[in-house]
């Protein structure tokens, strides 16, 4: 079991849904996917690297025959996978505090979902529907989502200065370099090992 690799935590959860409700949820996700302003809270939770929801219809589990018994299920299922920085408690607390309306909109269609506030019952529910990761890989174990955004911002500023350096006099370069430093200085944090959490 390895839910953690470097600075990233892998969370898996599965919740049952009455089949008719999954169509409501699909519609909500469709709107969420096409109206980017509705994703702002998710973007503001800047410790999430990747997250996804997958609706699995009760007859949608892959079947290959060869002795594999077909599934006979009453419910459709909602799978949730998240890759986030920080601890489980920090993540769930922040989700509950910042995204409560959005989470309720997504999970209220799942059986027995208690709501994302108060957080105690929400954590109990997540704890019940979560299952552990067996293998977890990240290409950047020492970097958080914010580190990645910062690195790309530095790269963009660096590329810009680099493209102009040969056309500038020494004095012009000094001015351009000063502007460059002002641009990149909020994004020069160092990556490294994850802190030990007691």
């Amino acid at each position: 079991m390895s839910n953690i690799n470097g600075k990233v935590y892998a969370m898996n959860a599965i919740t049952p849904m009455k089949p008719w409700k999954t169509w409501v949820l699909r519609l909500i996700f469709f709107v969420l996917g096409h109206v980017k302003s509705l994703q702002q809270d998710l973007i503001n939770l800047s410790f999430i690297e990747f997250a996804r929801w997958v609706v699995v219809p009760r007859a949608g589990f892959p079947q290959f025959g060869n002795g594999q018994e077909p599934e006979k299920l009453t419910y459709d299922y909602l799978l949730f996978f998240s890759n986030f920085n920080g601890t489980w408690n920090q993540y769930i607390d922040a989700f509950s505090a910042v995204l409560s309306k959005g989470l309720n909109l997504i999970w209220q269609w799942s059986e027995k979902f208690p709501g994302s506030v108060p957080v105690t019952l929400f954590k109990e529910y997540i704890g019940r529907v979560q299952f552990d990761t067996d293998y977890y890989f990240t290409a950047y174990p020492h970097a958080t989502a914010n580190d990645l955004k910062a690195a790309h911002a530095v790269q963009a500023s660096y590329d810009d200065l680099r493209s102009r350096v040969n056309s500038l006099s020494d004095a012009e370069f000094a001015d351009a370099y000063m502007s460059f430093v002002l641009q990149v200085q909020p994004n020069l944090g160092e990556t490294g090992e994850a802190p030990v959490v007691f």
Binding site: N5, A10, N12, T15, L25, F29, E49, F50, A51, R52, W53, V54, V56, F61, P62, F64, G65, N66, G67, E69, P70, E71, K72, T74, Y75, L79, F81, E111, K112, F131, T133, D134, Y135, Y136, F137, T138, A139, Y140, A145, D147, L148, K149, A151, H152, V154, Q155, Y158, R162, V165, L168, D170, A171, F173, Y177, V184, L188, T191, E193, V196, F198
Partner: protein, 214 residues
């Protein structure tokens, strides 16, 4: 398409695990055992093959009963979940990523997926890609914090960030002519630098003791 977010692809695969009462240890346990010993560093199959930002493998034993009045039900098979956040091909599809996995990490894939129903092996690339796509589930909603950069672009950016931080720190108050010359040297150094390794090994450190739980 919900599987795509910008230039990143959210691949979700569920492969049914062989259910054989005669197998000992059981196939799901053999998968778990193999995964427990599999490197997550530079020797990882996902580091050897190109294009993986983050990926996980999970044995899903069953669906979860959340309590009455919900109906308790169970799966007839266990499933191997492969969740990958990866770079698709130029056409936006997943084929070239899957072919890369088969080419660079076929032995690992065979060791893992040979415990799954219908797995054809990685040596027949076309059959492998067909099988994986037959196991694929459409992602309903996919969020990526950075969705316009590939793995090499991100590795390069992290390298540049560190080099720039060091440069800024050590070149404060320098005369313009020398500063410009040194910056050109930085450009030359970064241009010549090899691509940083994917999933560079975790640096060993001394055990920190004395926390609240001791």
């Amino acid at each position: 398409m919900p599987n795509n977010s910008g230039k990143v692809y959210g691949l979700t695969i569920l492969s049914p695990i062989l259910n054989d009462d005669e197998a000992s240890p059981s196939h799901d346990l053999q998968i778990r055992s193999y995964l427990a010993g599999l490197s997550t560093g530079r020797e990882s199959p996902f580091a050897q093959a190109p294009g993986t930002h983050l990926a996980r493998l999970v044995v899903m034993d069953d669906v979860i009963f959340v309590g009455a009045p919900a109906v308790e039900e169970h799966l007839n098979s266990k499933y191997l979940i492969f969740e990958s956040n990866c770079d698709p091909g130029p056409d936006g599809t997943i084929d070239s990523y899957l072919q890369g996995l088969a080419e660079y990490a076929g032995a690992h894939l065979d060791a893992i997926w040979s415990h799954c129903v219908g797995y054809p092996g990685a040596s027949d690339r076309a059959a492998f890609v067909r099988y994986m796509k037959a196991c694929q589930l459409e992602t309903t909603f996919f969020f990526a914090a950075v969705n316009d950069k590939s793995v090499p672009e991100t590795l390069r950016a992290l390298q540049t960030q560190k080099a720039v931080a060091d440069f800024v720190e050590t070149h404060q108050g320098m005369q313009p002519g020398q500063l410009r010359a040194e910056f050109l040297q930085l450009v030359a150094t970064l241009d010549a630098a090899p691509m940083p390794a994917v999933a560079s090994a975790t640096v060993s450190r001394e055990m920190k003791i004395g926390g609240r739980n001791e």
